[in-house]
């Protein structure tokens, strides 16, 4: 095991070195539009992977939560006069204070979304969170007094001003936030609270029989995921400098799900791998030509085909694919399909393999049919 651990240690150090050196050697476009944006999208996907992997809750509301944080940041930091629609809301707080306010409020909204959806499972949970996301989109689209309607807000400045002024610094802020969120979740999943999430994921009925208020734990999970999505939303608002209903529309909602699935729903690190793959496809699909056929008008087709291929070839995502290839190459548990959580590599008492999440509805009342006595 120490061999594995040292191998993983070396891998982690090399990966971190690459991530740190990256903005120093790459052009601005690669630092911001590829690097920083991948990290921002990855944090949003991380919140979904956390919910689905450890709570069995596949939520479509994560983009809405991130977007809510962006709006709250705009309202907290802008002055009323910079409000594009001329409404008088805006608290002119410093960027970092505004960020804290936005993330705290988003955590609260996550709890509220949780309170609404915590008693539904599987497909019903998916549909409820989708309804919340779409509902939020229409609220910001149609409300001009608070959310600025279809225009939204512009002129949002981060603690370092515009990202383009110092791309490397903005990239480092994103990277540090992502690492903190990843390590924080990694800590929580092995805590008492994190174990309750996994118990609820595996068998909510048994959790109730052990003395747990299942709904309350699912609400807590949603709030934590809201916190993480809020981080993504704040960084995204600083990255773009503006917010508009476009950041919470249906395609953004689905993007987060696609990123998580590409990376592997059972793997927290997969959120970032998936984000990089997604952003690269998104940026370069239009400039690729295949057998003389150019995709500039049909780059969405290429993204869609890529997504389908990944789902068919690697249902547990790119990370799952790499993991299996690695395992069969090193002759250790070669045929195992079960997703083993990379977070749990240093297997202690509270290191759990992440169960593969299905979107199928689970019956919390198990054998609760009268014929089954």
């Amino acid at each position: 095991m120490s061999w594995v651990r040292s191998r993983q240690g070396i891998f982690t150090v090399v990966a971190l070195l690459i991530l740190v050196i990256y903005p120093l050697v790459m052009p601005r476009f690669w630092v911001l539009s590829i690097g920083s944006y991948s990290i921002i999208l990855g944090i949003a996907a991380l919140s979904l992977v956390f919910m689905s992997g450890y709570g069995g809750m596949v939520s479509l509301a994560q983009a809405a939560l991130a977007g809510f944080a962006a709006y709250m940041l705009a309202l907290a930091t802008l002055t009323p006069s910079t409000n594009a629609t001329g409404s008088a809301i805006g608290f002119a707080l410093p960027a970092l204070v505004g960020a804290v306010v936005a993330v705290v409020l988003t955590t609260g909204l996550g709890a509220l979304f949780g309170a609404i959806s915590a008693r539904s499972y599987g497909t019903y949970f998916l549909m409820l969170t989708l309804a919340l996301a779409v509902g939020f989109f229409y609220i910001v689209l149609q409300n001009y007094d608070i959310f600025g309607g279809h225009i939204g807000f512009a002129g949002i400045l981060g603690p370092t001003g515009q990202p383009r002024e110092n791309p490397a610094l903005f990239y480092y802020i994103c990277l540090a936030t992502a690492i903190a969120a990843y390590l924080g979740l990694r800590y929580i999943v092995r805590s008492q609270l994190g174990l309750t999430f996994q118990g609820v994921r595996d068998n909510p009925r048994r959790m109730a029989a052990l003395g747990y208020r299942v709904a309350a734990h699912r609400i807590a999970l949603f709030a934590i995921a809201g916190f993480v999505a809020g981080l993504s939303g704040v960084l995204g608002a600083w990255y773009r400098g503006n917010v508009s209903p476009g950041i919470v529309d249906l395609s953004r909602t689905i993007d987060v799900l696609i990123v998580a699935v590409i990376g592997g729903l059972g793997y927290p690190i997969g959120a970032f791998v998936g984000a990089v793959v997604f952003v690269l496809m998104d940026v370069f699909a239009s400039s690729i030509s295949l057998f003389g056929f150019r995709f500039d008008e049909r780059f969405n087709t290429l993204i869609g085909v890529g997504f389908v291929v990944i789902v068919l070839v690697a249902p547990d995502g790119v990370v799952g694919l790499v993991n299996r290839a690695w395992q069969s190459a090193t002759h250790r548990g070669g045929g195992r399909r079960r997703a083993v959580d990379p977070l749990a590599a240093e297997a202690g008492l509270l290191a759990a393999p992440v169960a593969t999440t299905s979107i199928a509805p689970s019956d919390p009342a198990g054998d609760a049919t009268p014929s089954n006595q």
Partner: protein, 261 residues
């Protein structure tokens, strides 16, 4: 363990009065009235469809009764949620194992211990000397799972999963322990181990046991209730039950060795 007031101590562990449960057109339980004294070992027998598991679900709170009342330790719990009843000291196992397939044995027992304690939302990691971790090791030894403490529950054999069912119920410090066919699917030697485990339980735990295996049920039980068609029909001590003609006709006569879960 908490100690109740004098009234609670003298109250029966379980009192059902006129309990009925209807699923649409099916009357699964019909006018069930029974008392189980504190510390008693009660076996509930009856053919499939007699309402035994429904009775468990009504007592544990998974279903609310459609009529009648449920009292635990002198407290009316008829409309209480399952988790609230568990915190009152009702722990149960399931006929079909209800386990955490993605967790390890140690983690499952840890959750079961912490479920009836404060700090269920504690975001900190338990330390190595956490009392609940030490206790989970002890329980694993009690139910014969010490060697697979760190194994994922999904990798356990059927017998080991049944042992974990019992272990998780014991972990909640039960005052009333309800076992729904704990021997289902166990081998003969595993049944002997289970019977010995049940006989060793401290007498301050009340045990209600649904079991088709007569060797297990009659060895453990002080008293036996026989149910048929959703209602208790005979109650007595094991030898009375074995001698009862009605029971032989409706249950023992054609059921022994046939039903296994």
């Amino acid at each position: 363990m908490t100690f109740g007031t004098a009234a609670e101590v003298s109250a029966p562990a379980l009192r059902l009065q006129g309990v009925g449960r209807r699923f649409g057109a099916l009357q699964a339980l019909h006018d069930v009235s029974m008392e189980v004294a504190a510390g008693e070992r009660r076996a509930i027998l009856g053919p499939n469809g007699a309402g035994k598991t429904t009775l468990f679900n009504v007592v544990a709170g998974d279903f609310l009764p459609t009529s009648g009342s449920v009292e635990l330790f002198g407290t009316n719990v008829t409309s209480l949620t399952p988790y609230a009843r568990t915190r009152l000291g009702v722990c149960r196992t399931y006929q079909t194992s209800q386990l955490f397939m993605g967790l390890t044995v140690a983690q499952s027992l840890f959750l079961a211990i912490r479920g009836v304690q404060k700090g269920r939302f504690d975001p900190r990691r338990p330390k190595a000397d956490d009392p609940a971790r030490i206790r989970s090791t002890e329980i694993a030894e009690t139910v014969g799972l010490a060697s697979v403490l760190q194994a994922p529950v999904g990798s356990l054999s059927h017998g080991q999963q049944r042992q974990l069912e019992v272990g998780m119920a014991l972990a909640g410090n039960p005052r009333l322990l309800m076992l729904d066919e704990p021997a289902a699917g166990l081998s003969r030697s595993e049944r002997v181990v289970l019977t010995e485990l049940l006989l060793r339980l401290p007498r301050d735990i009340t045990v209600i046991l649904v079991e088709h295996d007569m060797d297990v049920a009659l060895a453990v039980a002080d008293r036996v209730t026989v149910m048929a068609e959703g209602t208790p029909i005979v109650e007595g001590n094991p030898s009375e039950i074995q001698a009862n003609r009605t029971v032989q006709d409706i249950y023992l006569g054609h059921a022994v060795g046939v039903h296994h879960g």
